[in-house]
């Protein structure tokens, strides 16, 4: 029983990271109807930035906040320079854009910081949480930060005018323009927020997976799985999906014989395919109905 509880709690902790990644993916998907394959690399680059700041002697939380701001600006910049011109381009052009972005960011990170793995600090420490052997303080911190982020996002989208405008622009761009909303900037804002949310995921997972240019690859696939499971049109679904995937991953690795650590990633992929076959809209998503 102890093993089970332990695995569930650890699953919730990594699930928090998947939830953040899924949330970032969903934010961009809502805005431009495409999956951002470079989401993980953007998060990785942000994490390197924060690492660099700490190397230069900045305290953790200072680097954290500054990285958030830089990632936000960077996300907007990427949208303005690369994806705004592609707004009316076919799907494959956009996919090519995302893959190019993936390659460029990955190579640049390798060029600047090389590919050797680096230790990344945690502000929460790694002692047992509240004296319990089940979960470490860092894992508890991951869950705590994610939950706080979710609450803030909920308040932003539900109770602020700009949040309302962003929701309107994502739901019905033409109607949004007809009430005077600059939908183009709402998309850019969505990119900025997605980049910032991704950077939080990167900075929280880096102490666990260690910092290196390819560290987010697996995390992003789990993030995609979470977003698909929850429904790509639902931020709440993305979060629930994230936690479910985290727990599922851990339990499968522990209890299904032969899965172990090596086959965890294929499980995420199998989950994506299963959901797409049996419930394409995901748990919370709206089914896409098109008039013909």
């Amino acid at each position: 029983m102890e093993l089970f509880t332990n695995q569930v709690l650890a699953g919730i902790a990594t699930g928090a990271i998947y939830a953040c990644m899924a949330l970032a993916v969903v934010m961009i998907y809502q805005a431009i109807d495409h999956l951002n394959f470079a989401q993980g690399e953007m998060a990785m680059f942000s994490t390197f930035l924060s690492w660099q700041m700490m190397q230069w002697g900045m305290p953790y939380w200072g680097a954290f906040v500054l990285t958030l701001a830089l990632s936000f600006a960077g996300g907007i910049l990427i949208e303005r320079l690369l994806f705004k011109p592609l707004a009316k381009a076919p799907v494959l052009t956009n996919v090519a854009g995302f893959i190019a972005l993936y390659g460029i960011i990955n190579s640049f990170a390798g060029l600047i910081w090389d590919f050797t793995i680096k230790q990344y600090p945690t502000p929460f420490g790694s002692s047992p949480f509240l004296g319990s052997q089940l979960i470490s303080t860092h894992q508890a911190g991951m869950i705590g930060v994610t939950v706080l982020l979710l609450i803030l996002l909920f308040i932003f989208f539900q109770y602020t005018r700009i949040g309302l405008a962003m929701r309107a622009a994502a739901a019905l761009p033409e109607s949004a323009r007809l009430v005077g909303i600059n939908t183009s900037w709402m998309i850019a804002l969505g990119w900025g927020m997605a980049a910032a949310i991704g950077s939080i995921a990167g900075m929280l997972i880096a102490p666990v997976v260690f910092l290196e240019p390819n560290m987010m690859l697996g995390v992003l696939i789990y993030g995609f799985a979470a977003a698909v499971l929850g429904g790509l049109t639902s931020p709440l679904g993305a979060v629930v999906g994230g936690f479910l995937v985290g727990v599922f991953e851990n339990l499968a690795g522990t209890y299904i014989p032969g899965v172990g650590n090596e086959l965890k990633l294929p499980i995420a992929l199998a989950l994506i395919i299963t959901v797409l076959v049996f419930k394409p809209a995901g748990l919370f998503g709206r089914p896409i109905v098109k008039r013909v």
Binding site: A165, R177, L178, V179, G180, I181, T183
Partner: protein, 237 residues
């Protein structure tokens, strides 16, 4: 009286297809004008061209300011509210959120609350349903919500695209009564595109008739309604 909206030689295109062939008309401030014509005559395109939602050439001036080159949202911010065909309701949001969105460009927050109350006075059914998802409203209620959302902008000019579409005749009468009241009391200039010519002519004071992208008739709404030749050849009743 000076014209509030001046449209000159408007030509609009969907890809290679030309939908408007040199349309010219003017709206006086405070007027209630209707634009009539059959299916495919170019009524919707005319409204879309005013808001720059379709590629067009020609000159459109609103209160002396040219509209060409402005994005749709910037046209709206000048005080032109557009209730599109199909109503453009944000169906997944609540009635109140839809009204808030109508006023999203305004900065006078205190007045917005008062304006929402005014809309509830115009359309009591919206007050009953203010926490409900807009997609759950009936067609008539959604049309009232669309008009209310447009009014939340405090527009100088309101463009309505076939507000009667798909509604029961009694509901259309109610709606048109409210439009007349808004025009008189709130001093909103209104341009309404309609296929229901009979009702629109009762409501309006000016009328234009368009056919295949050209204005073929214009004048006082009562006179056009009383002219049997025009009615038979262009309006089909």
């Amino acid at each position: 009286m000076t014209a509030m909206l001046n449209v000159k030689d408007l030509r609009a295109y969907y890809g290679q297809v030309q939908a408007l062939h040199g349309l010219s008309f003017a709206l006086n401030e405070g007027s209630l004008t209707t634009l009539l014509g059959a299916n495919g005559a170019g009524k919707t395109t005319t409204l879309r061209a005013i808001c720059n939602m379709v590629r067009s050439t020609g000159a459109i001036e609103f209160e002396g300011k040219p509209l060409s080159g402005r994005s749709t949202e910037n046209v709206v911010r000048l005080g032109i509210a557009h209730v599109p065909q199909g109503r453009g309701t944000f169906t997944t949001m609540t009635v109140e959120e839809n009204l808030q969105l109508g006023a999203i460009t305004r900065t006078d927050r205190k007045n917005i609350v008062d304006d929402i109350e005014r809309m509830y006075a115009h359309f009591p059914v919206l007050k009953e349903r203010y926490t409900q998802q807009a997609g759950t409203l009936s067609g008539g209620e959604q049309q009232m919500l669309a008009v209310a959302r447009a009014l939340m902008l405090r527009p100088r000019l309101m463009l309505l695209d076939e507000p009667s579409f798909g509604l029961a005749p009694l509901i259309v009468r109610d709606l048109f009564k409210i439009l007349g009241k808004i025009n008189r009391e709130d001093k909103v200039t209104i341009l309404v595109v309609e296929q229901n010519a009979q009702l629109a002519l009762e409501l309006a004071d000016q009328a234009y008739v368009i056919e295949t992208g050209r204005i073929v008739m214009s004048g006082n709404a009562k006179e056009i309604a009383n002219n049997e030749d025009i009615r038979k050849s262009y309006l089909g009743y």
